[in-house]
């Protein structure tokens, strides 16, 4: 490969050879100093590690050691080695036309040797078919990753662990009475006797007296004494709707800021959520504890294609 040196040392350094030498000597000293620092810091790091370490000191020593190498090499290449400009030839990317033609001919010849005429086409198609079928057969086992052949699993998106008569419990597992929550209080609740299934999380909120607009609720009969219960899973992207603005009775999802009006059936006030939080109907059992009157008013969590029309029974 022909190359030519495009610069010559004399023209690059107008101050003369003496200055040049002094510059290089200084640079060499500086590079040596940098490498020296690198060695000391690296050894220091080993000692530090053995005696017990400290993240900040380790990081700084490592940075200084590596930085020393970087500075030393930088000085070396930029000052001591100096600029060296070469020019390399470049040919256009395509191969020469005759090479291409020759390759094509050789390839065709070798393929022709296999079999002649229409028979060859037939064989090739069968081979392609075998390849594709084998590919499919080898890909199919990836379906084992999910329970997609289990008919029961199809209902999972439409059902939760709540059912009629199931008591509400707090995260501490304590059952709740109608007067346990103060006005403006919020609690995360689960069905009693479960191991906190993610799809069953709900928020129980005691609204201010007379604030609930019952006819906006999906299940107007499912409230007790200003207490209303909604799914805690945002209908947008599934984050827990944990941020409650008690003064305005608004639930906000901390992830994408969808706002739900608690007193009006958790309708969406603003933000990207497309539907209200499903309501969990609640009542009081014989012993005065809060119970669910059934499952949520709609499938919980982020929407999916058949969220309104499907039931999972298909």
């Amino acid at each position: 490969m022909p190359d030519q040196s495009a610069t010559d040392q004399a023209s690059r350094d107008p101050d003369g050879p003496a200055d040049e030498e002094r510059r290089e000597a200084n640079a060499t000293r500086l590079a040596a100093l940098s490498f020296g620092i690198a060695i000391l810091c690296a050894l220091g790091l080993v000692v530090l590690y053995v005696v017990g370490g400290n993240t900040q000191a380790e990081g700084i020593l490592l940075a200084l050691s590596l930085g020393g190498v970087g500075v030393g090499l930088g000085i070396w290449v930029r000052v001591i080695v100096g600029a060296d400009v070469i020019v390399e030839d470049r040919a256009p990317m395509p191969s020469r036309a005759e090479d291409r033609a020759e390759l094509g001919r050789e390839f065709d010849q070798t393929v022709d040797q296999v079999e002649g005429g229409g028979r060859r086409q037939f064989l090739l198609r069968l081979l392609a078919g075998a390849g594709a079928s084998l590919g499919l057969a080898l890909t199919v086992p990836f379906l084992s990753l999910g329970p997609i052949f289990d008919p029961a699993s199809r209902r999972e998106l439409f059902e939760t662990s709540w059912s009629r008569g199931r008591r509400l419990v707090t995260l501490e597992g304590e059952e709740i009475r109608a007067d346990t929550l103060a006005v403006d209080e919020i609690a995360t609740v689960f069905p009693v006797g479960t191991d906190l299934p993610a799809d069953s999380q709900a928020v129980l909120i005691r609204t201010r007296p007379g604030q609930l607009v019952l006819d906006t609720l999906a299940l107007p009969d499912g409230t007790v004494n200003g207490l209303v219960c909604y799914s805690k899973i945002c209908t947008h992207a599934g984050c827990p709707v944990g941020l409650y603005r008690a003064q305005d009775a608004e639930l906000i999802c901390p992830c994408h800021q969808s706002q739900f009006k608690v007193t009006r059936g958790a309708e969406v006030l603003s933000g990207p959520a497309g539907r209200p939080l499903p309501q969990l109907p609640i009542g009081i059992d014989d012993e005065g504890f809060l119970v669910a009157l059934g499952d949520f008013s709609a499938p919980v969590g982020p929407s999916f294609w058949n969220v309104t029309s499907g039931s999972g029974d298909a």
Partner: protein, 456 residues
């Protein structure tokens, strides 16, 4: 031709080289490649920062992998971090805490690894911008542009799977949103979600799957495509800036040995030094403060790492458009998390062909780079797209920005929606004007002046 033979005068290095050459015959090829020319503009080193970050990611990641357990089974925490003692946490989170507090130098490695991930993607993006604005993707390098784009996507995937592994409250939140995006795909969403997680959220314990993707599949893809990326660079040789010496049929630069090799080694040391500094001095992802992930807990602000911020912002900005037609629902999260990013990346991948077909109408081979002003329309589209990305990226932190500036959250979101739609157009027009103005001769020619006077 006579064969080379070793003599007693040779140094140890010479003898090793001689031994290898005796068996592999490398001398001639090495001579050729050691004199390979590397064009010397500083921006050509941006991609190398990405390369070196990846090397550091692999080294630190290997160390972390020796201690991390991708296991969601619960254990009682009894490590030295008092505020979590006695809590039931997953074995995965436990091993992350162990790495942070008990493994010597573990926290340093963890933090360097995370900073390296942020820097890796940042350098890829900066590299991509350099390629875009100088037209370095033009024929014959269209394929390498696509490979680079796939590398960017793999980097996103590596980052997302990586920060999901510790099983802390923040990582689980990201996973929850990712699952919801999967679920939103019409007809096959629930199927995809079930396959991804092994059932309805939170599934059967997705950490082993994420782990194998993070430590095996994605790195394999990254390394394989990186090899292809670099092979194509060597095969096609570098593009170069237009200079006194540069022509379309040459490459002007410094030789691989010693100049470029020393420069690269120096830069590698500097990259590692900066990451060691960041990893030692700046706290990143303090998972011990966040606590174990529970599906019913969340905190604000919850943001992904910066390179997913644009997607988060798109999802935050998108209006509540959810339609049900003939019983089929298009969830509101589907368009911003699946369709729009799909369109964005399709345009990005197709750009070299779009550029040649409709913008420059130039299908010829090029090796000399352009200045942004040389193709004002491309530059305008580039800056417009950047503005769009910046706007949605800021939107991903709308709660942080609202708190910092004292702007009401809803107002800010509305403003950002307007900015996202109109600012890119404005910036594109301005950059087009600047680019065309820069192309005009410095001294206005008499004809231009006359024309201006006539129109005025």
């Amino acid at each position: 031709m006579t064969e080379a033979t070793a003599t007693d005068k040779d140094s140890a290095l010479d003898r090793v080289a001689g031994y290898l050459d005796d068996r592999l015959g490398l001398a001639a090829g090495s001579r050729k490649y050691l004199r390979k020319a590397f064009p010397g503009h500083w921006s050509f080193l941006i991609g190398e920062i990405a390369l070196f970050s990846l090397v550091i990611l692999l080294v630190t990641g290997t160390f972390l992998a020796l201690f991390y357990t991708p296991d969601t089974n619960l254990v009682v925490y009894d490590g030295p971090y008092v505020p979590l003692q006695g809590q039931m946490i997953s074995a995965a989170y436990n091993s992350t805490l162990e790495l942070s507090f008990e493994v010597r130098a573990g926290l340093l490695f963890r933090q360097i690894h995370h900073w390296a991930a942020l820097l890796f993607v940042a350098a890829i993006v900066a590299h991509l911008l350099r390629i875009f604005f100088t037209g370095a993707f033009r024929r014959p390098r269209e394929m390498n542009w696509v490979v680079g784009g796939v590398l960017l996507l793999l980097a996103f995937g590596a980052g997302f799977t990586g920060y999901s592994l510790p099983d802390d409250l923040l990582s689980g939140t990201g996973l929850r949103i990712g699952y919801s995006a999967l679920l939103s795909v019409p007809f096959v969403g629930p199927l995809l979600g079930y396959l991804g997680l092994g059932g309805e959220y939170p599934g059967v314990g997705v950490l082993p799957r994420l782990h194998i993707m993070h430590v095996m599949l994605i790195p394999a893809g990254l390394l394989g495509l990186l090899g292809a990326h670099l092979f194509m660079v060597v095969r096609q040789k570098h593009t170069q800036k237009r200079t006194r010496l540069a022509r379309e049929d040459n490459v002007v630069g410094e030789p691989l040995w010693p100049n470029q090799a020393l420069t690269m080694t120096s830069l590698f040391a500097f990259t590692a030094a900066v990451l060691a500094f960041l990893g030692g001095v700046f706290e990143i992802n303090p998972v011990w403060l966040y606590g174990q992930y529970e599906p019913f807990e969340v905190f604000a602000p919850s943001q992904p790492d910066w390179y997913m911020g644009w997607l988060e912002g798109l999802v935050r900005l998108w209006p509540a458009w959810e339609w049900t037609i003939f019983g089929i629902t298009i969830p509101s999260v589907f368009l911003p998390s699946v369709v729009v990013p799909g369109i964005m990346f399709t345009i990005m991948f197709a750009w070299p062909w779009i550029d040649a077909r409709w913008i420059t109408k130039d299908h010829a081979e090029h090796h000399i780079n352009q200045r942004p002003r040389d193709v004002p329309i491309r530059t305008a589209i580039g800056f417009g797209s950047l503005t769009f990305l910046l706007a949605i990226w800021v939107s991903g932190s709308n709660d942080v920005v609202a708190a910092a500036t004292g702007t009401p959250l809803d107002t800010l979101t509305t403003v950002l929606r307007v900015v996202t739609v109109f600012a890119p157009i404005l910036v594109a027009v301005i950059s087009f004007r600047i680019a065309t103005r820069l192309n005009e001769p410095l001294e206005p020619s008499p004809t231009t002046t006359t024309r201006a006077a006539e129109s005025a």
